[in-house]
Symmetry: C2
Subunit: 234 residues, 2 copies
DNA sequence: TATAGTTAGCTGTGATCACAGATGTCAACG
DNA sequence: CGTTGACATCTGTGATCACAGCTAACTATA
C-alpha cells in the first residue's frame, strides 16, 4: 500500500508506446482512406522503408496487416499492389458499406452525446465554409472527418473498425471518380453538403430512421456517380 | 505467342506458393475459430515458433495480422494475449454477428447453386449423425463447417471475411459456455440441429426472409445461453 | 519479520544479412 | 529481322542478432 493517497488518481492515459510498426500502419491507412493510393499502384517494402527512414521490418508488418484486411495485396516477388476490385467485389463492398454505415448513422442518432453532436456541427460548418471558398480538396478532407465523426458518435468500436476496413478497400476504387469531381465540379454533388446538415439534425433529434435513410441515400448517390464515371471511362 | 494452343487453357489455380507466414496465420485462425484459445490465454512468439519449427519471423507477421483484426492483442513486453471482451464490445459483436450472419443466410437463399445446397444437406446430415452418436465434439466441428458453408454459399467474399473477423473475436468469448454445453448437455440445444435442417430447406427453397429469421433466432438463442452461463459464473 | 532495492530472465521490436524466384534487358543465333 | 537464351537486378521471405522494457524473484536493510 502507498503511504499516501494517490495524488488525485492522476488518470494518466496509458502512456501507450509508439512503435514504428504502428506509425507505418497508420500512415498507409491514412493514405488509403484519403485516396492517395490508386488501384494498380505498386509500392515496395524498401521504398516505403526509405520513405519512413527505418528498416524494412516495421513496414513489413504494417503491409501484412493491411493485406490481411484486403486493403493491399502482396505479390510474392513483384511488389505490393493496391488491388483493383472486380465488379462482384465492388458491388459487395457498396452493399455492405450502405448497410453498415447506415447502421452506424442510426446508432449515432440513438447514442450520441452532446459533445459528439457539437463536434458534428463544427465539422459540418467546416465543410460548408470550405465549399463556399471553393476549396474542394479541403472539402473532401473535412467531409471524410465529418463522416468518421458520425461513426465515432455511434460509440461502437467494433462497427467503426468494420467500416474502416470496408472503406480502405472501397476508397481506392473511387479515386478516379473523385478526380473527375475535383476537375469538372458537377453540379449534383453540391447537394451532398446540405444532406450533411440534415443528417446532423436527425442525429441531434435522435431520429434514427431518418439518419439511416439520409446516409444511405447519400451513399447510393455517390455509388451511382462512381459507377457512371467508371462506365464512361471504359 | 506459343506455337501450340494452350492445352484447354488449363485454368491452373495460380500455383499459390505456401509461405510459413500463411501457415502460421491459418493455424492461429483455426485455433481461434474452433475455440481452442480462451480469453486471457497468453502465448509467446518464441513458443509458437518452436511449435511450428520455424524462426520467430513468420509467427510475428501472423500475430500482427490477427492483432490488426482484433483477434489477438500484443502487450509490449508481456506476451500475446487473447483479449477478454468488455460487456459493451461483447454486445456490439453479437449485434453485428446477428445482422451480418442473418444477411449472409438470406443471401445464400438467393444465390446458392445446386452444388452448394447439396453440400449444405450433406453437412447437415453429418451434424445429425454425430448428434445421434452422442459425439458432441464432432457435432461442434461439423456445426462450424455447416455454418461457414452457408456463408460461402452466399457467394460474397467480402461478407465472408467480415463474418470470419467477427467470429474470431466472438468465439473465445463463448468457450466457457461451450465447455458447459459439452459437460452438462442441457436439453435446449438439441433443437438447434433441427433448426439447421429448416435453414437448409429455406435456402433450397430460395426463401430469403425465412433463412434470415431462422439464423438470427438461432444466434440469439445461443447468445442468451452464453450470457446466462457467464452470469452464472460471476 | 516486513519492506525496499536490485538483479536476472523473460518479452516484443527493430536491424542486418542471406536466399529463392520473377522480370526485363540484351546479345547471340536462326 | 524475329526468336530464344542467359544474366543482372529487384522483389518478398526467412533467419539471426542486438536491444530496451517489464516481471518477478531474491537479497539486504530497518
Amino acid at each position: 500500500m502507498a503511504p499516501v493517497a494517490p495524488a488525485s488518481s492522476l488518470a494518466l492515459p496509458r502512456a501507450e508506446r509508439v512503435t514504428l510498426n504502428g506509425v507505418a500502419y497508420d500512415g498507409l491507412k491514412r493514405a488509403l482512406l484519403s485516396g492517395r493510393l490508386e488501384p494498380g499502384a505498386v509500392i515496395t517494402l524498401r521504398q516505403l522503408a526509405d520513405e519512413l527512414g527505418t528498416s524494412m521490418m516495421p513496414v513489413r508488418e504494417a503491409v501484412s496487416r493491411l493485406a490481411a484486411e484486403g486493403a493491399l495485396a502482396v505479390q510474392p516477388n513483384r511488389g505490393i499492389v493496391v488491388p483493383a476490385l472486380g465488379d462482384g467485389d465492388a458491388a459487395d463492398l457498396w452493399d455492405l458499406r450502405i448497410k453498415l454505415e447506415g447502421d452506424a448513422s442510426a446508432r449515432a442518432a440513438r447514442r450520441a452525446d452532446t459533445a459528439g453532436i457539437e463536434r458534428l456541427r463544427a465539422l459540418c460548418r467546416a465543410v460548408e465554409t470550405a465549399a463556399a471558398a471553393g476549396d474542394l480538396h479541403r472539402v473532401l478532407a473535412c467531409n471524410s472527418d465529418f463522416q468518421f465523426a458520425v461513426y465515432q458518435a455511434a460509440q461502437s468500436p467494433v462497427l467503426l473498425q468494420l467500416i474502416e476496413t470496408l472503406r480502405m478497400r472501397s476508397v481506392p476504387h473511387c479515386t478516379a471518380a473523385i478526380r473527375v469531381l475535383l476537375a469538372d465540379r458537377p453540379p449534383y454533388y453540391a447537394r451532398s453538403w446540405v444532406n450533411h446538415a440534415a443528417l446532423v439534425e436527425a442525429i441531434a433529434a435522435g431520429d434514427a430512421p431518418a439518419a439511416r435513410r439520409l446516409k444511405q441515400a447519400d451513399l447510393r448517390e455517390f455509388r451511382d456517380f462512381v459507377d457512371s464515371v467508371r462506365k464512361q471511362a471504359s
